[in-house]
Symmetry: C2
Subunit: 332 residues, 2 copies
Protein backbone atom coordinates (compact mmCIF):
# COMPACT_ATOMS: atom_id res chain seq x y z
CA UNK A 1 0.00 0.00 0.00
CA UNK A 2 1.59 3.26 -1.14
CA UNK A 3 1.58 6.45 0.92
CA UNK A 4 -1.76 8.20 0.26
CA UNK A 5 -1.74 11.62 -1.41
CA UNK A 6 -4.63 12.86 0.77
CA UNK A 7 -5.33 12.42 4.46
CA UNK A 8 -9.08 12.80 4.07
CA UNK A 9 -11.42 12.92 1.08
CA UNK A 10 -15.05 13.91 1.59
CA UNK A 11 -18.08 13.24 -0.58
CA UNK A 12 -21.22 15.21 0.07
CA UNK A 13 -23.83 17.69 -1.04
CA UNK A 14 -22.21 20.94 -2.19
CA UNK A 15 -24.36 23.62 -0.57
CA UNK A 16 -24.27 27.35 0.06
CA UNK A 17 -25.80 28.29 3.42
CA UNK A 18 -27.96 31.36 3.98
CA UNK A 19 -27.84 31.89 7.74
CA UNK A 20 -30.31 34.22 9.48
CA UNK A 21 -31.53 34.76 13.01
CA UNK A 22 -35.11 33.76 13.79
CA UNK A 23 -37.23 33.38 16.89
CA UNK A 24 -39.00 30.20 17.99
CA UNK A 25 -42.34 31.56 16.76
CA UNK A 26 -40.98 31.74 13.22
CA UNK A 27 -40.12 28.02 13.28
CA UNK A 28 -43.58 27.17 14.62
CA UNK A 29 -45.36 29.40 12.11
CA UNK A 30 -43.50 27.70 9.25
CA UNK A 31 -43.91 24.16 10.57
CA UNK A 32 -40.19 23.51 11.04
CA UNK A 33 -38.66 20.82 13.27
CA UNK A 34 -36.24 22.72 15.49
CA UNK A 35 -32.68 21.40 15.20
CA UNK A 36 -33.45 19.26 12.17
CA UNK A 37 -32.75 19.40 8.44
CA UNK A 38 -35.78 19.37 6.14
CA UNK A 39 -35.61 18.94 2.38
CA UNK A 40 -37.65 21.56 0.57
CA UNK A 41 -38.73 22.06 -3.03
CA UNK A 42 -38.21 25.22 -5.03
CA UNK A 43 -41.60 26.72 -4.11
CA UNK A 44 -41.08 26.27 -0.40
CA UNK A 45 -37.50 27.54 -0.76
CA UNK A 46 -38.90 30.72 -2.31
CA UNK A 47 -41.49 31.13 0.44
CA UNK A 48 -39.00 30.62 3.29
CA UNK A 49 -36.45 32.93 1.66
CA UNK A 50 -39.08 35.66 1.33
CA UNK A 51 -40.20 35.32 4.94
CA UNK A 52 -36.87 34.99 6.78
CA UNK A 53 -34.72 37.87 8.01
CA UNK A 54 -31.62 39.18 6.25
CA UNK A 55 -28.84 36.66 6.14
CA UNK A 56 -25.23 35.81 5.51
CA UNK A 57 -24.26 33.68 2.52
CA UNK A 58 -21.46 31.27 3.30
CA UNK A 59 -20.29 28.03 1.74
CA UNK A 60 -21.59 25.01 3.63
CA UNK A 61 -22.51 21.37 3.12
CA UNK A 62 -21.89 18.96 5.96
CA UNK A 63 -19.02 16.88 4.53
CA UNK A 64 -17.61 19.96 2.81
CA UNK A 65 -17.44 21.77 6.17
CA UNK A 66 -15.70 18.74 7.67
CA UNK A 67 -13.11 18.64 4.91
CA UNK A 68 -12.41 22.37 5.23
CA UNK A 69 -11.95 21.75 8.97
CA UNK A 70 -9.47 18.95 8.22
CA UNK A 71 -7.53 21.32 5.94
CA UNK A 72 -7.51 23.96 8.69
CA UNK A 73 -5.79 21.41 10.95
CA UNK A 74 -3.17 21.00 8.23
CA UNK A 75 -4.52 17.82 6.63
CA UNK A 76 -4.14 17.22 2.89
CA UNK A 77 -7.78 17.21 1.88
CA UNK A 78 -10.07 16.72 -1.12
CA UNK A 79 -13.80 17.05 -1.77
CA UNK A 80 -16.24 15.62 -4.30
CA UNK A 81 -19.68 17.22 -4.77
CA UNK A 82 -21.89 18.82 -7.40
CA UNK A 83 -22.58 22.52 -7.95
CA UNK A 84 -23.96 24.32 -10.98
CA UNK A 85 -21.87 26.78 -12.96
CA UNK A 86 -23.72 29.78 -11.42
CA UNK A 87 -22.82 32.57 -8.97
CA UNK A 88 -23.44 30.50 -5.82
CA UNK A 89 -21.63 27.54 -7.39
CA UNK A 90 -18.64 29.76 -8.10
CA UNK A 91 -18.67 30.95 -4.50
CA UNK A 92 -18.73 27.36 -3.23
CA UNK A 93 -15.89 26.25 -5.50
CA UNK A 94 -13.72 29.24 -4.73
CA UNK A 95 -14.19 29.04 -0.98
CA UNK A 96 -13.33 25.37 -0.72
CA UNK A 97 -10.25 25.82 -2.92
CA UNK A 98 -9.22 28.91 -0.95
CA UNK A 99 -9.28 26.63 2.11
CA UNK A 100 -6.65 24.53 0.30
CA UNK A 101 -9.00 21.64 -0.47
CA UNK A 102 -8.63 19.88 -3.83
CA UNK A 103 -12.02 20.16 -5.58
CA UNK A 104 -12.25 18.95 -9.17
CA UNK A 105 -15.86 17.78 -9.63
CA UNK A 106 -17.05 19.54 -12.82
CA UNK A 107 -19.90 22.02 -12.29
CA UNK A 108 -23.19 21.24 -14.05
CA UNK A 109 -23.76 23.48 -17.10
CA UNK A 110 -27.54 23.22 -16.97
CA UNK A 111 -30.33 21.88 -14.79
CA UNK A 112 -31.22 23.11 -11.30
CA UNK A 113 -29.14 25.81 -9.60
CA UNK A 114 -26.55 25.27 -6.88
CA UNK A 115 -28.00 23.78 -3.69
CA UNK A 116 -28.77 26.14 -0.82
CA UNK A 117 -29.75 25.66 2.78
CA UNK A 118 -31.74 28.26 4.67
CA UNK A 119 -30.50 28.03 8.23
CA UNK A 120 -32.48 29.69 11.00
CA UNK A 121 -30.54 30.32 14.19
CA UNK A 122 -32.71 30.78 17.30
CA UNK A 123 -31.59 32.87 20.31
CA UNK A 124 -30.27 29.71 22.07
CA UNK A 125 -27.77 29.20 19.21
CA UNK A 126 -29.59 26.11 17.84
CA UNK A 127 -29.90 25.89 14.04
CA UNK A 128 -32.81 24.60 11.97
CA UNK A 129 -32.07 23.83 8.33
CA UNK A 130 -34.19 23.88 5.17
CA UNK A 131 -32.31 22.55 2.18
CA UNK A 132 -33.12 22.86 -1.51
CA UNK A 133 -30.86 20.23 -3.12
CA UNK A 134 -30.76 21.72 -6.62
CA UNK A 135 -27.64 20.73 -8.56
CA UNK A 136 -26.51 18.41 -5.74
CA UNK A 137 -29.22 16.01 -6.98
CA UNK A 138 -27.05 15.30 -9.99
CA UNK A 139 -24.05 13.71 -8.30
CA UNK A 140 -23.62 10.37 -10.09
CA UNK A 141 -21.34 7.36 -9.70
CA UNK A 142 -19.52 8.67 -12.77
CA UNK A 143 -18.36 11.63 -10.68
CA UNK A 144 -16.32 9.22 -8.54
CA UNK A 145 -12.78 8.52 -9.72
CA UNK A 146 -11.61 5.30 -7.99
CA UNK A 147 -7.95 6.38 -8.30
CA UNK A 148 -8.69 9.56 -6.35
CA UNK A 149 -10.44 7.55 -3.61
CA UNK A 150 -7.54 5.07 -3.50
CA UNK A 151 -5.25 8.03 -2.91
CA UNK A 152 -6.94 9.11 0.36
CA UNK A 153 -6.23 7.53 3.76
CA UNK A 154 -9.85 8.06 4.79
CA UNK A 155 -12.94 8.58 2.62
CA UNK A 156 -15.65 10.41 4.55
CA UNK A 157 -19.29 10.24 3.48
CA UNK A 158 -22.42 11.97 4.74
CA UNK A 159 -25.76 10.23 5.32
CA UNK A 160 -27.37 13.12 3.46
CA UNK A 161 -26.04 11.47 0.27
CA UNK A 162 -29.02 9.12 0.51
CA UNK A 163 -31.31 12.05 -0.34
CA UNK A 164 -30.22 12.89 -3.89
CA UNK A 165 -31.55 9.90 -5.84
CA UNK A 166 -28.33 8.87 -7.62
CA UNK A 167 -25.74 9.80 -5.02
CA UNK A 168 -25.99 6.56 -3.07
CA UNK A 169 -24.50 4.77 -6.08
CA UNK A 170 -21.63 7.27 -5.96
CA UNK A 171 -21.34 6.53 -2.24
CA UNK A 172 -21.17 2.74 -2.76
CA UNK A 173 -18.69 3.03 -5.60
CA UNK A 174 -16.44 5.21 -3.42
CA UNK A 175 -16.65 2.85 -0.43
CA UNK A 176 -15.69 -0.10 -2.64
CA UNK A 177 -12.77 1.80 -4.20
CA UNK A 178 -11.52 2.76 -0.73
CA UNK A 179 -11.65 -0.78 0.62
CA UNK A 180 -10.12 -2.23 -2.57
CA UNK A 181 -7.16 0.07 -1.85
CA UNK A 182 -7.15 -0.92 1.86
CA UNK A 183 -8.24 2.55 2.92
CA UNK A 184 -10.73 3.52 5.61
CA UNK A 185 -14.38 4.53 5.13
CA UNK A 186 -16.16 6.86 7.56
CA UNK A 187 -19.83 7.88 7.64
CA UNK A 188 -21.81 10.48 9.53
CA UNK A 189 -25.50 9.78 10.10
CA UNK A 190 -26.09 13.51 9.40
CA UNK A 191 -29.54 14.06 10.93
CA UNK A 192 -32.17 12.15 12.95
CA UNK A 193 -34.83 12.69 10.28
CA UNK A 194 -32.41 11.52 7.59
CA UNK A 195 -31.80 8.36 9.66
CA UNK A 196 -35.55 7.91 9.87
CA UNK A 197 -35.79 8.03 6.08
CA UNK A 198 -33.03 5.44 5.48
CA UNK A 199 -32.70 3.53 8.75
CA UNK A 200 -32.48 -0.01 7.32
CA UNK A 201 -29.91 0.94 4.71
CA UNK A 202 -27.71 2.73 7.27
CA UNK A 203 -27.83 -0.24 9.67
CA UNK A 204 -26.93 -2.50 6.75
CA UNK A 205 -23.93 -0.25 5.87
CA UNK A 206 -22.64 -0.55 9.40
CA UNK A 207 -23.25 -4.29 9.91
CA UNK A 208 -21.75 -5.18 6.50
CA UNK A 209 -18.61 -3.21 7.52
CA UNK A 210 -19.02 -1.00 4.44
CA UNK A 211 -18.32 1.67 7.06
CA UNK A 212 -15.29 1.45 9.36
CA UNK A 213 -16.04 4.52 11.45
CA UNK A 214 -19.47 5.94 12.29
CA UNK A 215 -20.27 9.43 13.61
CA UNK A 216 -23.65 10.06 15.22
CA UNK A 217 -25.17 12.47 17.68
CA UNK A 218 -27.56 11.29 20.38
CA UNK A 219 -30.71 12.00 18.38
CA UNK A 220 -29.36 10.12 15.37
CA UNK A 221 -28.30 7.18 17.53
CA UNK A 222 -31.74 6.97 19.12
CA UNK A 223 -33.33 7.20 15.69
CA UNK A 224 -31.03 4.50 14.29
CA UNK A 225 -31.94 1.94 16.93
CA UNK A 226 -35.44 3.34 17.59
CA UNK A 227 -34.85 3.52 21.29
CA UNK A 228 -34.69 6.24 23.92
CA UNK A 229 -32.33 4.10 26.03
CA UNK A 230 -28.88 5.62 25.51
CA UNK A 231 -26.89 2.79 27.13
CA UNK A 232 -28.81 0.18 25.18
CA UNK A 233 -28.15 2.04 21.93
CA UNK A 234 -24.43 2.31 22.76
CA UNK A 235 -24.31 -1.45 23.43
CA UNK A 236 -25.97 -2.14 20.06
CA UNK A 237 -23.49 0.22 18.38
CA UNK A 238 -20.56 -1.58 20.01
CA UNK A 239 -21.79 -4.86 18.53
CA UNK A 240 -22.41 -3.41 15.07
CA UNK A 241 -19.39 -1.09 14.56
CA UNK A 242 -15.64 -1.29 14.29
CA UNK A 243 -15.43 2.23 15.66
CA UNK A 244 -18.09 4.82 16.46
CA UNK A 245 -18.16 8.25 18.05
CA UNK A 246 -21.36 9.59 19.57
CA UNK A 247 -21.54 13.33 20.25
CA UNK A 248 -23.62 14.70 23.13
CA UNK A 249 -23.36 18.49 22.75
CA UNK A 250 -22.07 20.11 25.96
CA UNK A 251 -21.75 16.64 27.59
CA UNK A 252 -18.90 15.76 25.24
CA UNK A 253 -18.65 12.50 23.31
CA UNK A 254 -18.38 8.74 23.71
CA UNK A 255 -15.89 6.71 21.67
CA UNK A 256 -17.16 3.16 21.13
CA UNK A 257 -15.01 0.28 19.94
CA UNK A 258 -14.84 -3.47 20.64
CA UNK A 259 -12.08 -2.61 23.14
CA UNK A 260 -14.29 -0.41 25.26
CA UNK A 261 -16.25 2.76 25.71
CA UNK A 262 -14.62 6.06 26.65
CA UNK A 263 -16.36 9.34 27.48
CA UNK A 264 -14.45 12.54 26.65
CA UNK A 265 -15.65 15.98 27.80
CA UNK A 266 -16.49 18.95 25.58
CA UNK A 267 -14.31 22.08 25.53
CA UNK A 268 -15.93 24.81 27.61
CA UNK A 269 -17.07 27.84 25.56
CA UNK A 270 -17.90 31.35 26.78
CA UNK A 271 -21.03 31.77 24.63
CA UNK A 272 -22.73 29.60 22.04
CA UNK A 273 -23.51 31.88 19.08
CA UNK A 274 -24.52 29.42 16.36
CA UNK A 275 -24.31 25.62 16.56
CA UNK A 276 -24.27 25.28 12.75
CA UNK A 277 -21.34 23.01 11.87
CA UNK A 278 -20.69 21.68 15.39
CA UNK A 279 -21.01 18.05 14.28
CA UNK A 280 -19.18 18.69 11.02
CA UNK A 281 -16.18 20.23 12.75
CA UNK A 282 -16.19 17.57 15.45
CA UNK A 283 -15.78 14.99 12.67
CA UNK A 284 -12.97 17.09 11.15
CA UNK A 285 -10.90 16.94 14.33
CA UNK A 286 -11.43 13.22 14.80
CA UNK A 287 -10.60 12.37 11.16
CA UNK A 288 -7.50 14.56 11.21
CA UNK A 289 -6.29 12.84 14.37
CA UNK A 290 -6.90 9.38 12.90
CA UNK A 291 -5.12 10.26 9.65
CA UNK A 292 -2.13 11.33 11.79
CA UNK A 293 -2.26 8.09 13.81
CA UNK A 294 -3.26 9.75 17.07
CA UNK A 295 -4.98 7.56 19.68
CA UNK A 296 -8.76 7.84 20.03
CA UNK A 297 -8.54 9.99 23.13
CA UNK A 298 -6.47 12.65 21.33
CA UNK A 299 -8.70 12.37 18.24
CA UNK A 300 -11.72 13.14 20.42
CA UNK A 301 -9.95 16.11 22.03
CA UNK A 302 -9.09 17.52 18.59
CA UNK A 303 -12.72 16.96 17.62
CA UNK A 304 -14.05 18.76 20.69
CA UNK A 305 -11.65 21.66 20.09
CA UNK A 306 -12.85 22.17 16.51
CA UNK A 307 -16.52 21.98 17.54
CA UNK A 308 -15.89 24.59 20.27
CA UNK A 309 -14.31 26.96 17.74
CA UNK A 310 -17.18 26.80 15.27
CA UNK A 311 -20.08 27.31 17.71
CA UNK A 312 -18.64 30.60 18.95
CA UNK A 313 -19.35 32.43 15.68
CA UNK A 314 -21.82 32.46 12.81
CA UNK A 315 -21.14 29.94 10.05
CA UNK A 316 -20.10 26.32 9.84
CA UNK A 317 -16.47 26.72 8.87
CA UNK A 318 -13.61 27.69 11.19
CA UNK A 319 -12.61 31.36 11.43
CA UNK A 320 -9.34 30.60 13.22
CA UNK A 321 -6.55 28.22 12.20
CA UNK A 322 -7.39 24.88 13.86
CA UNK A 323 -3.74 23.91 13.49
CA UNK A 324 -2.70 26.89 15.63
CA UNK A 325 -5.46 26.15 18.17
CA UNK A 326 -4.45 22.49 18.40
CA UNK A 327 -0.81 23.47 18.91
CA UNK A 328 -1.83 25.95 21.64
CA UNK A 329 -3.60 23.12 23.47
CA UNK A 330 -0.67 20.74 23.05
CA UNK A 331 -2.68 18.33 20.90
CA UNK A 332 -0.28 18.29 17.93
Amino acid sequence: MSEPRYDVLGIGNAIVDVIARADEDFLVAHGMNKGGMALIDEDRAEAIYRAMGSGVEISGGSAANTIVGCASFGARAAFVGKVKNDELGNIFARDIRAAKVAFETPAAKDGPSTARSYILVTPDGERTMNTYLGAAQNLYADDIDPRLIADAAITYLEGYLWDPSHAKEAFKKAAKAAHDAKRMVALTLSDAFCVDRYRDEFIQLVRSKTVDLLFANEAELHSLYQTSDFDGAIAALQKDCRLAVVTRSEKGCVVVSPNGIEAIPAFPVARVVDTTGAGDLFAAGFLFGLARNKDHHVCARLAALAAAEVIQHIGARPESSLQALAAQHGLI
Copy 2:
Protein backbone atom coordinates in the same frame (compact mmCIF):
# COMPACT_ATOMS: atom_id res chain seq x y z
CA MET B 1 -44.33 70.96 6.51
CA SER B 2 -46.14 67.62 6.74
CA GLU B 3 -45.02 64.74 8.97
CA PRO B 4 -42.38 62.79 6.99
CA ARG B 5 -43.10 59.17 6.01
CA TYR B 6 -39.48 58.13 6.67
CA ASP B 7 -37.09 59.04 9.47
CA VAL B 8 -33.99 58.46 7.35
CA LEU B 9 -33.41 57.84 3.65
CA GLY B 10 -29.96 56.78 2.46
CA ILE B 11 -28.41 57.06 -0.98
CA GLY B 12 -25.28 55.07 -1.70
CA ASN B 13 -23.47 52.38 -3.60
CA ALA B 14 -25.34 49.06 -3.35
CA ILE B 15 -22.58 46.55 -2.65
CA VAL B 16 -22.25 42.94 -1.55
CA ASP B 17 -19.25 42.38 0.72
CA VAL B 18 -17.00 39.34 0.57
CA ILE B 19 -15.24 39.31 3.93
CA ALA B 20 -12.17 37.16 4.54
CA ARG B 21 -9.37 37.04 7.07
CA ALA B 22 -5.88 37.99 5.87
CA ASP B 23 -2.54 38.71 7.48
CA GLU B 24 -0.56 41.93 7.15
CA ASP B 25 1.79 40.30 4.65
CA PHE B 26 -1.11 39.71 2.27
CA LEU B 27 -1.94 43.43 2.25
CA VAL B 28 1.69 44.34 1.61
CA ALA B 29 2.11 41.71 -1.12
CA HIS B 30 -0.97 43.08 -2.92
CA GLY B 31 -0.08 46.75 -2.46
CA MET B 32 -3.12 47.59 -0.34
CA ASN B 33 -3.46 50.61 1.96
CA LYS B 34 -4.42 49.13 5.32
CA GLY B 35 -7.71 50.53 6.61
CA GLY B 36 -8.59 52.21 3.33
CA MET B 37 -11.00 51.60 0.47
CA ALA B 38 -9.50 51.20 -2.99
CA LEU B 39 -11.49 51.14 -6.20
CA ILE B 40 -10.50 48.23 -8.42
CA ASP B 41 -11.30 47.22 -11.97
CA GLU B 42 -12.61 43.84 -13.04
CA ASP B 43 -9.15 42.35 -13.68
CA ARG B 44 -7.82 43.31 -10.29
CA ALA B 45 -11.08 42.15 -8.69
CA GLU B 46 -10.50 38.73 -10.28
CA ALA B 47 -6.89 38.60 -9.11
CA ILE B 48 -7.69 39.57 -5.51
CA TYR B 49 -10.64 37.17 -5.37
CA ARG B 50 -8.41 34.33 -6.57
CA ALA B 51 -5.70 35.10 -4.02
CA MET B 52 -7.72 35.81 -0.87
CA GLY B 53 -8.92 33.19 1.62
CA SER B 54 -12.43 31.77 1.78
CA GLY B 55 -15.00 34.35 2.68
CA VAL B 56 -18.47 35.22 3.79
CA GLU B 57 -20.85 36.98 1.40
CA ILE B 58 -22.99 39.59 3.13
CA SER B 59 -24.89 42.62 1.92
CA GLY B 60 -22.92 45.82 2.51
CA GLY B 61 -22.46 49.32 1.15
CA SER B 62 -21.70 52.13 3.57
CA ALA B 63 -24.97 54.11 3.46
CA ALA B 64 -26.96 50.87 3.08
CA ASN B 65 -25.40 49.54 6.30
CA THR B 66 -26.27 52.79 8.03
CA ILE B 67 -29.89 52.64 6.89
CA VAL B 68 -30.22 49.00 8.02
CA GLY B 69 -28.82 50.14 11.37
CA CYS B 70 -31.44 52.92 11.56
CA ALA B 71 -34.17 50.33 10.87
CA SER B 72 -32.75 48.08 13.60
CA PHE B 73 -33.23 50.98 16.04
CA GLY B 74 -36.86 51.11 14.91
CA ALA B 75 -36.56 54.01 12.45
CA ARG B 76 -38.74 54.14 9.33
CA ALA B 77 -36.06 53.86 6.68
CA ALA B 78 -35.56 53.85 2.92
CA PHE B 79 -32.61 53.29 0.59
CA VAL B 80 -31.75 54.28 -2.98
CA GLY B 81 -28.94 52.48 -4.84
CA LYS B 82 -28.24 50.46 -7.97
CA VAL B 83 -27.77 46.71 -8.29
CA LYS B 84 -27.98 44.47 -11.34
CA ASN B 85 -30.67 41.87 -11.69
CA ASP B 86 -28.22 39.02 -10.88
CA GLU B 87 -27.71 36.63 -7.95
CA LEU B 88 -25.71 39.09 -5.81
CA GLY B 89 -28.17 41.86 -6.69
CA ASN B 90 -31.04 39.68 -5.54
CA ILE B 91 -29.22 38.98 -2.28
CA PHE B 92 -28.68 42.71 -1.70
CA ALA B 93 -32.31 43.61 -2.43
CA ARG B 94 -33.73 40.82 -0.32
CA ASP B 95 -31.49 41.51 2.68
CA ILE B 96 -32.25 45.21 2.82
CA ARG B 97 -35.98 44.58 2.48
CA ALA B 98 -35.81 41.83 5.10
CA ALA B 99 -34.34 44.49 7.39
CA LYS B 100 -37.61 46.43 6.84
CA VAL B 101 -36.01 49.11 4.66
CA ALA B 102 -38.05 50.41 1.70
CA PHE B 103 -35.91 49.78 -1.42
CA GLU B 104 -37.51 50.48 -4.79
CA THR B 105 -34.62 51.45 -7.12
CA PRO B 106 -35.09 49.23 -10.21
CA ALA B 107 -32.25 46.74 -10.80
CA ALA B 108 -30.26 47.13 -14.03
CA LYS B 109 -31.18 44.49 -16.63
CA ASP B 110 -27.82 44.62 -18.41
CA GLY B 111 -24.37 46.15 -18.06
CA PRO B 112 -21.84 45.38 -15.31
CA SER B 113 -22.74 43.00 -12.48
CA THR B 114 -23.70 43.99 -8.94
CA ALA B 115 -20.92 45.84 -7.09
CA ARG B 116 -18.78 43.86 -4.68
CA SER B 117 -16.20 44.76 -2.09
CA TYR B 118 -13.45 42.35 -1.09
CA ILE B 119 -12.81 43.12 2.55
CA LEU B 120 -9.67 41.76 4.19
CA VAL B 121 -9.79 41.64 7.99
CA THR B 122 -6.37 41.53 9.67
CA PRO B 123 -5.81 39.89 13.09
CA ASP B 124 -6.19 43.31 14.83
CA GLY B 125 -9.78 43.53 13.51
CA GLU B 126 -8.97 46.32 11.03
CA ARG B 127 -10.57 46.03 7.57
CA THR B 128 -9.09 46.93 4.19
CA MET B 129 -11.52 47.23 1.30
CA ASN B 130 -11.21 46.69 -2.44
CA THR B 131 -14.36 47.67 -4.28
CA TYR B 132 -15.44 46.84 -7.81
CA LEU B 133 -18.26 49.33 -8.47
CA GLY B 134 -20.00 47.38 -11.26
CA ALA B 135 -23.71 48.21 -11.52
CA ALA B 136 -23.39 50.94 -8.86
CA GLN B 137 -21.71 53.05 -11.58
CA ASN B 138 -25.11 53.42 -13.21
CA LEU B 139 -26.93 55.34 -10.50
CA TYR B 140 -28.30 58.42 -12.28
CA ALA B 141 -30.18 61.54 -11.24
CA ASP B 142 -33.24 59.90 -12.83
CA ASP B 143 -33.13 57.29 -10.06
CA ILE B 144 -33.93 60.03 -7.53
CA ASP B 145 -37.63 60.70 -6.93
CA PRO B 146 -37.91 64.16 -5.30
CA ARG B 147 -41.22 63.19 -3.66
CA LEU B 148 -39.51 60.29 -1.90
CA ILE B 149 -36.72 62.57 -0.66
CA ALA B 150 -39.26 65.16 0.51
CA ASP B 151 -40.87 62.40 2.54
CA ALA B 152 -37.80 61.71 4.69
CA ALA B 153 -36.80 63.75 7.76
CA ILE B 154 -33.11 63.21 6.95
CA THR B 155 -31.47 62.30 3.65
CA TYR B 156 -28.11 60.65 4.24
CA LEU B 157 -25.46 60.52 1.52
CA GLU B 158 -22.06 58.86 1.30
CA GLY B 159 -18.92 60.53 -0.05
CA TYR B 160 -18.34 57.35 -2.05
CA LEU B 161 -21.11 58.62 -4.37
CA TRP B 162 -18.45 60.87 -5.92
CA ASP B 163 -16.77 57.75 -7.38
CA PRO B 164 -19.44 56.52 -9.81
CA SER B 165 -19.31 59.17 -12.55
CA HIS B 166 -23.03 60.07 -12.65
CA ALA B 167 -23.98 59.58 -9.01
CA LYS B 168 -22.92 63.04 -7.89
CA GLU B 169 -25.75 64.45 -10.00
CA ALA B 170 -28.11 62.12 -8.17
CA PHE B 171 -26.57 63.36 -4.90
CA LYS B 172 -27.09 67.04 -5.79
CA LYS B 173 -30.63 66.46 -6.99
CA ALA B 174 -31.45 64.69 -3.72
CA ALA B 175 -29.88 67.41 -1.55
CA LYS B 176 -31.89 70.06 -3.39
CA ALA B 177 -35.13 68.09 -3.07
CA ALA B 178 -34.50 67.67 0.66
CA HIS B 179 -33.85 71.34 1.27
CA ASP B 180 -36.78 72.39 -0.92
CA ALA B 181 -38.94 70.35 1.45
CA LYS B 182 -37.18 71.82 4.52
CA ARG B 183 -35.61 68.46 5.37
CA MET B 184 -32.09 67.78 6.61
CA VAL B 185 -29.11 66.58 4.55
CA ALA B 186 -26.29 64.53 6.11
CA LEU B 187 -23.04 63.38 4.52
CA THR B 188 -20.30 60.98 5.55
CA LEU B 189 -16.83 61.62 4.13
CA SER B 190 -16.54 57.81 3.74
CA ASP B 191 -12.76 57.34 3.47
CA ALA B 192 -9.56 59.39 3.67
CA PHE B 193 -8.51 58.40 0.15
CA CYS B 194 -11.97 59.30 -1.15
CA VAL B 195 -11.59 62.73 0.50
CA ASP B 196 -8.22 63.04 -1.20
CA ARG B 197 -9.85 62.40 -4.58
CA TYR B 198 -12.63 64.99 -4.11
CA ARG B 199 -11.40 67.37 -1.39
CA ASP B 200 -12.40 70.65 -3.00
CA GLU B 201 -15.88 69.47 -3.87
CA PHE B 202 -16.48 68.14 -0.36
CA ILE B 203 -15.32 71.38 1.25
CA GLN B 204 -17.60 73.25 -1.13
CA LEU B 205 -20.57 71.04 -0.12
CA VAL B 206 -19.98 71.86 3.53
CA ARG B 207 -19.32 75.60 3.14
CA SER B 208 -22.32 76.08 0.84
CA LYS B 209 -24.49 74.38 3.51
CA THR B 210 -25.56 71.78 0.95
CA VAL B 211 -24.82 69.52 3.91
CA ASP B 212 -26.34 70.17 7.35
CA LEU B 213 -24.58 67.36 9.21
CA LEU B 214 -21.15 65.95 8.45
CA PHE B 215 -19.69 62.64 9.67
CA ALA B 216 -15.93 62.10 9.49
CA ASN B 217 -13.34 59.99 11.21
CA GLU B 218 -9.97 61.41 12.21
CA ALA B 219 -8.17 60.33 9.05
CA GLU B 220 -10.90 61.83 6.85
CA LEU B 221 -10.86 65.08 8.83
CA HIS B 222 -7.08 65.36 8.50
CA SER B 223 -7.35 64.61 4.80
CA LEU B 224 -10.13 67.20 4.33
CA TYR B 225 -8.10 70.04 5.84
CA GLN B 226 -4.71 68.60 4.88
CA THR B 227 -3.40 68.95 8.38
CA SER B 228 -2.18 66.60 11.10
CA ASP B 229 -3.27 69.09 13.78
CA PHE B 230 -6.49 67.67 15.24
CA ASP B 231 -7.53 70.75 17.21
CA GLY B 232 -6.89 73.00 14.23
CA ALA B 233 -9.00 70.76 12.01
CA ILE B 234 -11.82 70.76 14.57
CA ALA B 235 -11.71 74.56 14.69
CA ALA B 236 -11.93 74.72 10.88
CA LEU B 237 -14.82 72.28 10.98
CA GLN B 238 -16.66 74.37 13.55
CA LYS B 239 -16.39 77.37 11.25
CA ASP B 240 -17.51 75.45 8.13
CA CYS B 241 -20.30 73.23 9.47
CA ARG B 242 -23.73 73.52 11.04
CA LEU B 243 -23.13 70.23 12.83
CA ALA B 244 -20.34 67.66 12.56
CA VAL B 245 -19.40 64.48 14.36
CA VAL B 246 -15.83 63.23 14.28
CA THR B 247 -15.22 59.61 15.30
CA ARG B 248 -11.96 58.57 16.97
CA SER B 249 -12.25 54.77 17.27
CA GLU B 250 -11.75 53.65 20.89
CA LYS B 251 -11.35 57.28 21.96
CA GLY B 252 -15.01 57.97 21.22
CA CYS B 253 -16.28 60.94 19.24
CA VAL B 254 -16.43 64.71 19.20
CA VAL B 255 -19.66 66.58 18.40
CA VAL B 256 -18.93 69.96 16.82
CA SER B 257 -21.47 72.74 16.44
CA PRO B 258 -21.38 76.54 16.61
CA ASN B 259 -22.55 76.16 20.24
CA GLY B 260 -19.51 74.18 21.28
CA ILE B 261 -17.50 71.00 21.15
CA GLU B 262 -18.35 67.94 23.22
CA ALA B 263 -16.32 64.73 23.52
CA ILE B 264 -18.29 61.52 24.16
CA PRO B 265 -16.57 58.22 25.04
CA ALA B 266 -16.83 54.95 23.11
CA PHE B 267 -18.67 51.94 24.55
CA PRO B 268 -16.15 49.44 25.92
CA VAL B 269 -16.07 46.13 24.02
CA ALA B 270 -14.62 42.79 25.14
CA ARG B 271 -12.96 41.96 21.83
CA VAL B 272 -12.80 43.70 18.46
CA VAL B 273 -13.48 41.01 15.84
CA ASP B 274 -13.99 43.06 12.67
CA THR B 275 -14.21 46.85 12.43
CA THR B 276 -16.11 46.69 9.13
CA GLY B 277 -19.17 48.91 9.48
CA ALA B 278 -18.07 50.73 12.65
CA GLY B 279 -18.44 54.16 11.05
CA ASP B 280 -21.62 53.17 9.21
CA LEU B 281 -23.34 51.99 12.38
CA PHE B 282 -22.09 54.98 14.34
CA ALA B 283 -23.89 57.19 11.80
CA ALA B 284 -27.02 55.00 12.15
CA GLY B 285 -27.27 55.66 15.87
CA PHE B 286 -26.70 59.38 15.52
CA LEU B 287 -29.22 59.78 12.67
CA PHE B 288 -31.83 57.72 14.51
CA GLY B 289 -31.40 59.88 17.60
CA LEU B 290 -31.70 63.10 15.57
CA ALA B 291 -34.81 61.88 13.76
CA ARG B 292 -36.33 61.21 17.20
CA ASN B 293 -35.34 64.68 18.43
CA LYS B 294 -32.83 63.44 21.00
CA ASP B 295 -30.13 65.88 22.11
CA HIS B 296 -26.65 65.51 20.59
CA HIS B 297 -25.25 63.78 23.67
CA VAL B 298 -27.86 61.01 23.49
CA CYS B 299 -27.43 60.79 19.70
CA ALA B 300 -23.71 60.19 20.20
CA ARG B 301 -24.37 57.52 22.86
CA LEU B 302 -26.75 55.73 20.50
CA ALA B 303 -24.08 56.02 17.81
CA ALA B 304 -21.35 54.57 20.05
CA LEU B 305 -23.65 51.72 21.10
CA ALA B 306 -24.35 50.71 17.50
CA ALA B 307 -20.65 50.88 16.58
CA ALA B 308 -19.78 48.68 19.57
CA GLU B 309 -22.31 46.06 18.49
CA VAL B 310 -21.02 45.77 14.95
CA ILE B 311 -17.30 45.49 15.70
CA GLN B 312 -17.83 42.46 17.91
CA HIS B 313 -18.75 40.17 15.00
CA ILE B 314 -17.99 39.67 11.33
CA GLY B 315 -20.00 41.83 8.93
CA ALA B 316 -21.14 45.42 8.76
CA ARG B 317 -24.77 45.03 9.76
CA PRO B 318 -26.10 44.49 13.28
CA GLU B 319 -26.71 40.93 14.46
CA SER B 320 -28.73 42.03 17.49
CA SER B 321 -31.73 44.37 17.67
CA LEU B 322 -30.31 47.85 18.23
CA GLN B 323 -33.71 48.91 19.55
CA ALA B 324 -33.45 46.29 22.32
CA LEU B 325 -29.83 47.27 23.07
CA ALA B 326 -30.73 50.96 23.27
CA ALA B 327 -33.62 50.18 25.61
CA GLN B 328 -31.31 48.07 27.81
CA HIS B 329 -28.96 51.04 28.13
CA GLY B 330 -31.80 53.45 28.90
CA LEU B 331 -31.18 55.48 25.73
CA ILE B 332 -34.72 55.21 24.32
